[in-house]
Amino acid sequence: MNIVVVGLSHKTANVEVREKLAFSPTQMEKPLNALLALDGITEGVIVSTCNRVEIYVTTRDIAGGIARVKRFLADYHNFPLDTLENHIYAHHGEDAIRHVFRVASSLDSMVVGEPQILGQIKTSYGYAAEYKSSGIILNRFLHKAFSVAKRVRTETKIASSAVSVAFAAVELARKIFNDLSDKTVMLIGAGEMCELAAKHFLNNGVRGLMVTNRTFERAEKLADEFSGTAVRFENLFDQLHKADIILSSTGAPHTIIGAGDLGEVMSRRRQKPMFFIDIAIPRDIDPAVNDVDNVYLFTVDDLQEVVASNLQQRKEEACKAEDIVSEEIGQFFKWLSSLEVTPTIVALRNKFDEIRRAELEKTLAGWKDMPPDGQKRLEALTNAIMNKLLHPPTTLIKQAGQGGRTDLYVDAVRALYGLEIGRGQDEELELEE
């Protein structure tokens, strides 16, 4: 049995193509059933995220399976198959296993190490399990992928550092305040990055949010959105001492907060630390603010630098992660190929027995003066010969199965004796490639 992966990702298809081929996560029953209805496909899982659409199936017939899954993907979304071919990749055997392990470990993600992908695959697998489209092989396969991802996460630092400015800001705040749950964030002005950072702070459990804007209505609107409080711009310095983290992005042509403004603010705060993040260009906050005791000022450029160095670190950690993936592939492949051992031995035995019986019948039919115990003795003789002949290959395949290198022997035995377990197609595929 082979695991086959067919799919497209941010690396092979742009967003216009990806969104046309995406599956709605809430309606997975229909595509999963359609997938299983395909000829020769025994198990199937569909993973669909905004960055990738991938279909994992098991099949005996690799080439045919790939072709059918591709056609299914095109037909299901009414997408021209020849265009699809430009964006699609297909893996089988060890490559398929490596691919899925890498995807789950977030090594194939747009931002390497981002944590969402694992959850998305788990959800996708959840649907497959619910609609019973995954079976013994894919169940084991995906659970293995989850454990590999977990190993990568705990044994490497691939996801340990922030790779977005908003996250870097939250992480930095944790290095100043430790506990964010009693801290208040103040937004000065508005802007996409400012709001994104505010959202991150709220998700990370800050206590409250204040919003101020030259246009009070806009401040109110934003405050409503984040269930914070709006502050009139004129009252900024009356309220500033209540804020621990200040995100500023006004369009002001000059700085709005200077070092001199902070003396009183800090004494009202009893010198509790303040963390300013200046997102505006030109700057909203005088760089001299950073010289005030217990006040820390960062600009977006500073944070961007952090992000860049973290990305570099992730790349280094990714190499370690690849090693882990390679290690685990071996183990899983061992199990997968052991699935082939028993059927091969049974088939070989059946084949031998068939020949033995056929020849025995021929002999017995033409033997006129057979002694009374003749048939019995011939049976015993032929059985003994057959068992002796079968013993070495059987032992060898079984041992190979424990060592994980079954494919070679299993294939050899099947080819030598023309055993029909449906692997004949594999050779064709290898010739095509």
Partner: protein, 271 residues
């Protein structure tokens, strides 16, 4: 017997300090665990050494510099272990265990002979006065470790060098909190040490206070920490200012303990 235990303790502290240093460079959970085991084992050996010495000498082994430096080191380790458990901050060890190790090193340089107890010290006050004083000193030493880390982190933040070591050290608030807790732990002990010393002085020398250099410097130390505590509670001296004062306080305290004994002749100069 007690001498070899001293060096065993010294050896274990050395290993623990090395572990904490390795942990600082590469924070693996196993290294941290090992360091914790070592420092705890070292403390056990140290306590055993002190007890043995007590029975050998027949009095609290705190009457010469060899003994009192070792006792100080033991107190530092004990207080450190307490705060490490409380705050779960392993890297604190990277900054405190070297202090304990250094104290042991200096202690080993002084003669370890047991001399008959100075008659003036024969008193139940010896135990109370010195043990309390050293526990106070020890918590100031831990505050010193936390303050050094604070100043490093502060500098990293101000200069925006926030990768590498910065990531492995604790947050400013945590460090400031440790500083404060150590202070509220150490200051009352120092106060009790001074008061008990005065009472003892009255019984031994007939006067509560004689402006002996040790007494004067203890009072200076007390004022430094009192100022820090007062500043914290009233005007919100925290962070950098508090850290700098904790460092200054530590050195003043060291001078009170060592400098006075070695440099200034007086009633307290037990060498």
């Amino acid at each position: 017997m007690s001498a070899s235990l001293f060096y065993i303790t010294f050896g274990i502290y050395l290993a623990a300090t090395a572990c904490y240093m390795i942990y600082l460079a590469k924070p693996l959970a196993q290294t941290g665990k090992l360091a914790r085991w070592l420092i705890t084992g070292g403390l056990a050996a140290h306590v055993l050494f002190t007890l043995l010495r007590y029975f050998e000498a027949g009095h609290t082994p705190i009457t010469n510099l060899h003994e009192s430096l070792s006792f100080f080191s033991m107190a530092v380790v004990a207080v450190f272990i307490y705060f490490e458990r409380k705050f779960k901050i392993i890297v604190l060890g990277s900054f405190v265990t070297p202090v304990a190790l250094l104290l042991m090193l200096v202690s080993s340089l002084f003669p370890s002979v047991i001399s008959p107890l100075n008659p003036a010290l024969k008193s139940k006050w010896l135990v109370i006065h010195t043990v309390v004083a050293f526990l106070g000193y020890a918590s100031f030493a831990v505050a010193f470790g936390a303050a050094i880390i604070y100043l490093m982190q502060e500098r990293f933040l101000k200069q925006r060098k926030i990768s590498g070591l910065f990531q492995r050290l604790p947050s400013l608030d945590t460090l400031d909190d440790i500083n404060y807790r150590c202070l509220t732990f150490g200051f009352p002990l120092l106060t009790v040490a001074i008061i008990s010393g005065a009472i003892w002085a009255e019984t031994a020398w007939g006067t509560y206070w004689s402006w002996d250099p040790k007494e004067t410097w203890s009072l200076i130390t007390w004022f430094v920490y009192a100022a820090l505590l007062h500043g914290r509670l009233t005007t919100g001296w925290r962070g950098k200012k508090a850290a700098i004062l904790a460092v200054i306080g530590f050195f003043v305290m060291l001078f009170t303990f060592l400098g006075v004994n070695l440099l200034m002749p007086g009633l307290h100069s037990y060498k």
